[in-house]
Structure formats: C-alpha cells, structure tokens
Symmetry: C2
Subunit: 430 residues, 2 copies
C-alpha cells in the first residue's frame, strides 16, 4: 500500500516525539508499505511566529505572513527526515514548492489549484521516504510562497494522497478518532469506527477540530480514504469514507456543539424583496462569517425580524454593522445575544428518515430547554439554545438517539445493530 | 545612492532590535537613498537549529541541514519587512531563490554561481525596500535550497551589491569596525578608518570575525566598496576598499592572533621528491584544513621534519592521519603541540618595505618569546609561539609598530601621519 501519513503539531512537538514518529514510519515500512509524510510545525511554533508578527505591525501583509509562517513546517520536515534517516531508512524533506503544490495568490488562505507531486513519485520509486512540509504552496507564477490557512497541513496531506492515488491517508493527531460527542462532556461518548465525508464536514465545521473542513471537502471530491488516529497510541481510529448503505441504517451519528457564537437580530425590518440580499452582502463585504440565518415574517405588522449568528469574537463588528443597516433599511432596532450555543445532530441516515428533527425538539422540550433558532440541512439539524443548557442538552440528545449503545460498523455486532436501528426508526416516527 | 545594508544576528536579535533597524532604514531613505537589506537569522536561532539537528542524527544530510538552517533568515526577513512597513515605508521580504542567488550544489557551504537580482531591481524601481533573507541560495537546477556557510549573509550582501552595482555595501554588526588589534587585549587598539581588501582578508582568515573571508574575496573581485559598522551606534566604521597610495605609506595595519591552532610534526621523513604532495593530498582528502606548513631539510641526515598547523578541534584527526602517513613514508615518528598561538602582522605597505619581518622577530626576542614556526606572504608575517605568550606578544608588536599612534586616513592628521610613517620606515630598516 501507498500510505500518506500526516502528523500534527503535538505529534512533532519535540525531538522525542519526532523520534516516535520515525519509529512508526519504520514500522509501516517494515510491514511492506510505502510511506509519504506530511508534517505540521512543531507545537507552539506557529503561534510564536504569529505573536512576533502582531508585535511587529498592526496589519501584517499576507505575503510576509506566508513567508514567516511557512518556515515552521520546513523546520519540522527537515528534522523529521533526519530522524527517519537515523533509523537507516532513506528520507528526504520537501517544501510545498518542491512537491508542486500550486495555489491561487490569496495569501494566508490560499486554495490549491494543482498538485504535481512529481518529485514525490520519483522519491518513492527510489525507496526514499519523503517528508513534506505541510500548510504551504506557491503561487501559479511560482514567484511567492503561500499558506493554506489554519489546519492547512491536513489539506496538504489529502491533496498529495489524491495526486499520488494513495491507498490511504492517515491523519495523526492528539485524539484517537471522531466521537459521537465530546467525551469530556459525555463520558459515555463512543468512538466512531466510520463516518461519511458529509458527516465529518458537519462535525468539523461545528467546532470538532479533528480535521480541517477544506481537507474533508477535498478528500470527498477525490474520494481519498481518510483515517483519523492518535500518534500516541495504536488504536485503530475513525475512518472517513464515502457514504455506504450500512451508514444509512444509523439515523444520527453524533451530537456536536459550538459555544463560540453570538446571535444578532435586526428588529422590525420593512418586508420588501431584496432586503436579505442587501443585508448579507454588507455583512460579507465586512468579512464577517455568518453561520445560521433565520428570518420570520410577521403577518400582523408587515415587518420582519432577521437573526443571524456570528463567531463571538465578531460580535462587536457585527452589531456595529447591524446598527448601520437598521438605520439604512428603516428597521426598528437591533439586539445582541451573546450567551448562546449551537447544538447539532448529524447523520447521513437522516436523508431517509423522518421525525428526527421532531425528536430533537421534543427531547429539548422535555428538559425545559428553550430553542432560540432552528436551522436544518439534509444531514443535520441545528438549534441555538442558551449557553448554560449546553451540557444538559448534549447529554440528553446523546441518550435520546442511543449513541452510546450503537456499534455502528463492527461486523460481528451486525445483528445487534439492526435491532438498534429498528428501535431508532420506531422512536423517530413517534 | 543605492546602499545595501546587511544586519547580523545580534542586530535583528529581538523585535526591539529589528525596530531599531527599521528606523535606521527610514533615516537612510529620508536622506534620499535607496536601500536593500540583507538579514541574518535572529541571534541564537541558527545555533538552536543546529543543536536540534545534532540531537536528531549523528550525521545530518547537507541537503536537510540547508532546508532547516535557511528557515531562520526567512523568519527575520519577513519580520524586518513588517517592521519597516509599519513605519510607512513599502517593504517586501525575499528569499535567496526569489532574488536569484544561484549556487553550486555543495550543501552547507555552497558557492555562488550567479545573482540575477531581477526582482530586487523591480522592487527598487517601485520604491519598495527589499529585505533579503541572507545565507541562502538555490541549486542551478532550481530544485533545492542551499546555504553559503557560516557568515554567509555577508556574502549575500556583497553579491547583491555587486549585481546591483550598489554605491556602498554596509555591514552592520556588534562591533564598530576593524581594529589594529583585539581591543579586549590591548586597550590602546585603534579603530582603522580604512583597510585594503587584502588586509581584511588576512584579518578575517586570522580569526578577526568581523567579516566572512569569502565575502571580502567577492567584494575584491567585483570591487564592491564595503563599510563595517555597528548597528548600536552612529560611529562611521571601517571602510574596506581597493588598496590606495595612502595605505602604502603605512607599513603595518594591524596585529592579529589565533589561539585555536595545533601544530603537528612528522619527524624524520626521508627526503624524496613528492613527499609533501603525498602528505598534503592525504590531509586534504580527510577534509582537514591545514593553515601553516613548514618543511626543513636536514643536510646531515638527509631526512626532513614537516610541520603544519590545524584548527585545534582537528588535532586528533590530524594526528591519526600523521601516524599512518609516517608509517607509510618510513618516517621516524610524529609530534603534537597543542598550546600554541599564531601571531600575525598585516599590512599592504609591507610590499614596498623591507625589514618588517626582522623587526617582528626582534620584538619577540626582546621579550624572550620563542618562535616555533614562521610563515610569510606579501602582506603578512605570521609566527607560531607558545600560547601563554599571546597577550604579551600582541601588546609588544602593537607597540613596536606604533599602531596606537598612527591615524592612518583622517585627512587633518596627514602631517602627523607622515612623520609616523617615516619613523616606522626608519625603525623597520634597522
């Protein structure tokens, strides 16, 4: 097999840790596989460099930031190649440029345009273990260094795996997989053996920071089989793969939450066509990332309330903008609610099951938790609630959807699973 | 004027120091000059990376070392560009690749083959202050990063100044110029206003670590006017320029010493043609850098003693080699002397003056200092002495050649200078 292994910052956080990585690589090679490594900067290094840049200037140029930040991965790539060589395995480090990762020129969050990986193919053929500096690429003209945004090394690994048509892309991190919910909050949370790309995307975008969202999108597009595992243990991890029939039997795969949100409301907006467009164009122009949007038309007054959620760090900016827009649109006023949390149930099985949302609402109601906003997609239902109810709600939903009891993809438990599935189906139809 | 300014590691050792550099750049720009910067890695960073590499592996690959070590300069270049921009001056960082510094592929000590500097010319035209990451280049094929060896940022600066036909190349460091001798040893040591490239080469290769030797050679070859000054003061520094007539009037410019040497002797080598060639080829093959070589033929025995000096860190390696060669050549034995120092008087004026060496020997004799080896060049006389006499010898020579009293190139002291010169001439003829 050709395996791409990506190691995050904590996995290469010290020379001792890098040596452990080298040993794992040796083991994989000894088993007869070819390995390509992608590494992040040593833990803390990127933050240290960002702090220096922020001390240097209020508004660092993206181009300069990229030259600065890409250095961290180059350092860990070189050190990792050295540690692997020390074990008697030929190894060489490569920069983003050297493996032909070509991006657009949007510095600090560039998008990958092409991956040639020519030197990697050559190295593999020569029996060399290549170690690629993650997170970086070069502009199409080849003149400048770019970076792929936070968590960009995941994307590097997936893009390289796609280009090399690797059999597997292993993402090593400090957790041992994807759980049905936060195990720190719910001790009964169960590690998932398998999730669909779509589910992983929802988990990732909801603040379960196991995998960078863009890397999951990329993996989905090129059908790269991913597995998320811990570099600190030999546990099998969670596979992130194409949706299969077995998955559909499970209605809900997990419960996610995000406490880092604020809700902004513009009250009494005159109900005219195009109002929402004006509003959210203005918000986008100000580079504020909006998550949920809810609009309700009041039939009595002919006016409407428009609410949206933003990351809590953007509250002030969003409210300032909302105030200006309220005046411009002739609305009555604005409102900010900070202590909220977003709660989501996720599962590709929802596509073929009804009553899932209803069950979620009922569960929250049973525990006296008021719902402030609702938003749904094909494979997700999200509710905004008061932040203080987060733990209670997550535990209640985890329990209601029987996430603890299900053993989704282990073949020997197939019989049990079916029963669980039927039970879930029955319940969700109530 | 177009000025290339190079700042060493201590000059960019912290953000506070980098801000001071930015201010100096602004001042130079405000005076109407165009500036190109070359920066070293922040003080300590390169040593930190070397320590990590040595911890990773006993024998790091040169190619990996170069990727590792070149990162330090990239970081300081980006941060320096940010600090300059913060003062309202357009600034951009550039890597060795981006300014077209092409080298051979001898990793960790690559030689510059060509410098295009195209992007620099463009940036200068656009009113941008370019900040170049020193110490690094790329191979001719463009595939790999190389570094130019310790002190390589000096070479980067000189090479860029040559390519841009800059009016001046300023080397900012933590000392304020080149002295007649080590001021820590001789408080009367005087800063030189001007030295010839050839003299600077001797100073540099003798352990006066103000400027990297190769950068001086390069400056000499392309006639780049250099000035060495302190980034911690506004003192005028020392100009390193083409030899001029005024210089010739001064017989000796300075006294240098090097305590980091050992003397290896092969005793009783049969005196055959080609012996020295066999010996020093073997030494060169073992990558031992030999400095002084002395061979004396004994007319009585028909055998000869061959002595050479090596850096003290190479003593063991050199002695092992000498032992093997002694057996091979049928010599009587070997001898190692570790506690030695090399003492040199340097001056382009020696070319046209006789008696300089004699005066040096007489001075040492007067103080009871035994000479172990002698070596001379056109502009230098070196003696190896016992290490314990170093301070005494340096002071005595500094005094004997009246280095303290001479004010070599300040125009207003021209009259005095002549007298001093005459006196020196007179004395040296004794």
């Amino acid at each position: 097999m050709l395996i791409v292994q990506k190691y995050g910052g904590t996995s290469v956080g010290s020379l001792e840790r890098i040596r452990a990585v080298a040993k794992r690589v040796k083991k994989t090679c000894d088993e007869g596989h070819s390995v390509v490594l992608v590494v992040s900067a040593m833990a803390g290094e990127t933050n240290k460099l960002i702090a220096l840049a922020e001390e240097a200037t209020k508004q660092p140029e993206g181009r300069e930031m990229d030259l600065l930040l890409s250095s961290g991965e180059r350092i860990s790539a070189a050190l990792t190649a050295m540690c692997i060589s020390e074990l008697g395995i030929k190894s060489m480090s490569f920069t983003g440029r050297q493996v032909g990762i070509v991006t657009d020129d949007v510095h600090t969050k560039a998008r990958i345009e092409a991956v040639s990986a020519e030197r990697l193919r050559h190295a593999i053929k020569e029996g060399v273990v290549p170690v690629v500096a993650g997170f970086q690429g070069i502009t199409i003209s080849g003149t400048d260094v770019t970076t792929l945004g936070r968590g960009g090394s995941d994307l590097t690994a997936v893009a390289i795996a796609a280009s090399l048509k690797a059999d597997l892309c292993e993402i090593y991190t400090d957790v041992d997989g994807v759980y049905t919910t936060d195990p720190n909050m719910v001790p009964e949370a169960r590690k998932l053996d398998k999730v669909a790309y779509e589910e992983m995307l929802e988990f990732a975008s909801l603040g379960a920071k196991v995998l960078q969202s863009r890397s999951v999108e990329y993996a989905k597009k090129y059908n790269v089989p991913l597995v998320v595992k811990s570099s600190f243990s030999d546990a099998p991890g969670t596979f992130v793969v194409k949706e299969d029939k077995e998955m559909e039997r499970v209605v809900v795969s997990g419960v996610a939450y995000d406490k880092n949100q604020s809700k902004v409301t513009i009250i009494g907006v005159p109900d005219r066509p195009g109002i929402a467009s004006i509003l959210f164009n203005a918000v986008a122009d100000a580079n504020v990332v909006v998550d949920m949007i809810v609009q309700n038309i009041s039939h009595e007054t002919g006016a409407t309330d428009i609410s949206f959620t933003v990351p809590r760090t953007e509250s002030k900016k969003a409210m300032k903008l909302a105030g200006a827009l309220a005046r411009e649109l002739g609305a009555k006023g604005t409102d900010l609610r900070e202590n909220i949390a977003k709660l989501s149930i996720i599962g590709v099985g929802m596509r073929s099951h009804s009553g899932v949302a209803a069950k979620m609402f009922a569960t929250l109601a049973k525990h006296g938790i008021n719902i402030l906003m609702i938003s749904t997609s094909e494979i997700k239902v999200s509710c905004v609630i008061e932040e203080k109810f987060t733990e209670l709600a997550v535990r209640a939903l985890h329990d209601a959807f029987e996430l603890e009891g299900k053993a989704k993809s282990a073949p020997k438990k197939a019989a049990k699973k079916k029963t669980a599935k039927k039970a879930a189906k029955k319940k969700s139809k109530k």
